[in-house]
Symmetry: C2
Subunit: 497 residues, 2 copies
């Protein structure tokens, strides 16, 4: 069935591994933190670096695409303000992340019957600072024990980058001068900021992005020993809630106990997010949720889940979550509400007996198939407004939303991915879902193409955490899978599309 | 009845007002922030400055007293740790404020029958920074519209300092070379840190501090137009609760909803501090509380309370507090729980989809007569331990505790204070209580003397807040009251003691 001799692929990869890693390290040195406006220049530099590298790889078309060019921002990104409260000194809401450029590249097959495949990933990264607990500078990559440590090593620069060597190995092993499929790459720069401009970008550029299948390389596998293909991702929407009480900090002895305290109210909100069963207590939150079937619950239960090992990976000491669901169900198939940050009042050394003037809450919500982000956002707005007492003014600012998505287990293109991975890993491929979020649903909706997931990251890679890393051996399996995949999809592309 | 011609007192004060204010400004320039270890040197400098100034005033004995010299710290100051949880990387608790020196001064009357009076105040101040909302540098005093603005202007340097000119006016108007009473001053340096070492200092130095009455100048009056004498203060105990969840921040998509989140748990604690009636919901918290009598509630209700004006002073937009009690009852005679600070997770710009590793809560509790600080602290410890789920480790660190106190309305020495104020203000003196806290109960307990309150601050002075100020006219009434008080107490001292 194979059109490429596997040994030729492996030999090519071995020969080019060192140069490939040198290039990846250079890219990881660019701190492309999209959430922080101070790093806007670095995000742009990251895009330009990647475009140049893809041109060097052989892509005849490479372009840096600006985002956020629509004249009207999405309404959900505007701060909301409750009316009919007294004016207070303006405290600016956290500014949204500035629009960040995406990278597009295209390499036509030359075969008029070849299917077209679009690879999706992102070149921006989460914030990281040495003092967060990194053993080394997060933007000065180091290899220790076969692992490459750097912010973005796994999420997502490493997984984007394996496609560059992958396509070269595909060409070298098949003797082709162009890929067996019409290959397109779209690598965005705002994924870690919730992809606020990505749906608009997809709509604007839909004619350039048309494809028969989307390959998303921004997910993970079960473990080093159990390679898996992901079949779905959760959606995400997040918000910042700013609470304003007294116009300034006031003495807790003179006034405390007699006026509302915004830090207390922030805590009351966050403390009421979940009920006693750890279900999200916002009315309407679960509306539309597609519940797991018994068969899906069985498949989850069959995976070799070791709670103690999982807890170690989570750096945690106990599980806690929605009653009536297993840990895998909670993180893959159930919607959640999380307090990402809370702050208010005095946080310095010692004590300060005040009623603080302001408090702030950062919440995020993971969504599953059947939930609508707009409805969830409205439910949150209504819930917040209904719970705050007179004398507390509030603003809610939502970041961009990412919809959930699911791929059918028996989809033919998914079977191509499974075969290519099986050749690279030499063992059966199982199925998982991904608790994290990406703009997969937007790709599916706007481009009208099935979305498949090819990711080689493992849970211990520490996405969003200090000391993020990628396993070098798995990274090379990703290269190898990509090298096999285009031929398989070209053979099976017509049924896959 | 008067032994000093009031006009002579007023003339003396008028002649020395400018020099008095120059000296006060010099003292206010010293940022004696006791809560912040970085200012330990400034607190010491403040003590030394005051001791030198009191010597210059004429006190034959002036001493700087070290505190915190006992070998065993109070047990309540030690961090508590819940047992039987896994070890995590040590995150140091907020260090307690370093011991800060007090100032003692003594000026014997020379009359063997004279009563002995001890004036209490403090020379340390709350933290303050320009960016908190100060119109000018908090430690560069400025006079605007008859008000002296600076951190400590009212709380408490201004109110300590009026005794220096007061005693000089007393001497000038009576022709005496020593005060009519044996006058002692004890000005501590840790009041804004909860006076952790003050009870020990009182016990160690009880022989030097012996007196027939204590005058506390660290309270306020009803308003500029309604001079009042305070008859009691609330007590205070505060704590920091550190919560530890995952050993590091973890990805909310990969792990969120399946492990406990310390920011959520901090919010659940703070959010559960009060029940639906805004009563403190900690079991046992109200044990022993001496409820207000109907007569006391009537006296409170007779004061010219203007809720709208009070709210302006509170910089707040609504009242909120314990059901079944008026605002004055809530701030003067009811115990409270306040969230002074809360922090956890990501508080920077934009979003960060994490389950945070740690969170922190700073709570303070105001206590009223009948409550025991140790029992309250234990109730808080028990409540916290009972509410946290497995997988969340916690530490509670209590700051120093201050007990509540009350003075009987008909006490003879209190009547001396009322008469002296009446002469200075030229109008009837009413009675209030103080919602804030000071070590009055310790003075009463250790020294076995009645505690009286002489304060000229008004609610708009902004204690602990940006732009703190003292009204210069009221400050001079304080000077005048002090000038009359010693003669009145010498006449009535025997019945007062």
């Amino acid at each position: 069935m194979s059109t490429t001799p596997d040994s030729a692929v492996r030999a090519y990869i071995q020969d080019h591994r060192a140069a490939f890693l040198d290039d990846l390290v250079e890219w990881l040195r660019i701190p492309s933190v999209s959430a922080d406006p101070a790093h806007a220049g670095d995000v742009r530099r990251s895009a330009e670096w990647l475009a140049a590298k893809l041109a060097e790889t052989g892509f005849p078309v490479t372009e840096v695409w600006e985002t956020g060019t629509e004249t009207t921002a999405p309404s959900s990104a505007l701060p909301e303000e409750t009316p009919a409260t007294p004016a207070t000194p303006a405290i600016p809401a956290t500014p949204p992340a500035p629009p960040a450029p995406a990278v597009f590249a295209e390499w036509p097959s030359g075969d008029p019957d070849a299917p077209t495949v679009l690879v999706y990933g992102h070149h921006d990264v989460q914030p990281a600072a040495r003092e967060d607990g990194w053993a080394t500078d997060p933007f000065e990559p180091v290899v220790r024990d076969g692992r490459l440590h750097a912010r973005g090593a796994a999420d997502d620069k490493g997984q984007v980058f394996f496609h560059t060597l992958g396509v070269r190995a595909h060409l070298a092993a098949t003797g082709r001068t162009a890929p067996a499929v019409n290959l397109k790459l779209l690598i965005e720069g705002e994924e870690e900021s919730g992809s606020p401009n990505f749906p608009a970008l997809l709509r604007e550029r839909a004619d350039r992005l048309g494809c028969d299948a989307v390959i998303v390389s921004d997910t993970g596998m079960w473990s080093e020993d159990t390679p898996t293909v992901c079949t779905g991702m959760r959606g995400l929407t997040d918000c910042q809630i700013d609470l304003y009480g007294p116009d300034q900090d006031i003495h807790s002895g003179s006034f405390g106990g007699a006026v509302p305290n915004p830090a207390t109210e922030a805590a009351r909100l966050a403390g009421a997010l979940h009920d006693g069963d750890h279900r999200v207590a916002i009315p309407g939150f679960y509306d539309g949720v597609i519940e797991l079937t018994d068969r899906e619950r069985e498949l989850f239960a069959e995976l070799p889940f070791d709670e103690a090992a999982w807890l170690r990976t989570a750096h945690s000491y106990a599980t806690l979550g929605e009653a009536g669901h297993s840990t895998l169900e909670r993180i893959w198939a159930r919607p959640t509400a999380e307090v990402n940050g809370i702050g208010g009042g005095y946080q310095g050394p010692g004590g300060k007996t005040i009623v603080p003037s302001t408090a702030q809450l950062k919440l995020s919500f993971r969504l599953v198939a059947g939930m609508e982000t707009e409805k969830v956002q409205q439910a949150v707005r209504d819930w917040v407004a209904a719970r705050l007492p007179a004398g507390i003014r509030h603003e809610i600012t939502f970041g961009g939303a990412t919809r959930p998505c699911l791929t059918p287990l028996d989809h033919p293109a998914l079977q191509s991915v499974v075969r290519a991975m099986g050749r690279a890993f030499g063992q059966p491929i199982r199925f998982t879902r991904e608790g994290g979020s990406g703009p997969a649903a937007d790709l599916q909706d706007v481009l009208g193409a099935p979305v498949l997931f090819l990711g080689i990251s493992v849970p211990s890679d520490g996405w969003h955490a200090p000391n993020e890393k990628v396993e070098l051996d798995l990274l090379m399996k990703g290269v190898e899978t990509a090298a096999y995949l285009w031929g398989d999809l070209a053979e099976n592309g017509r049924t896959a599309a």
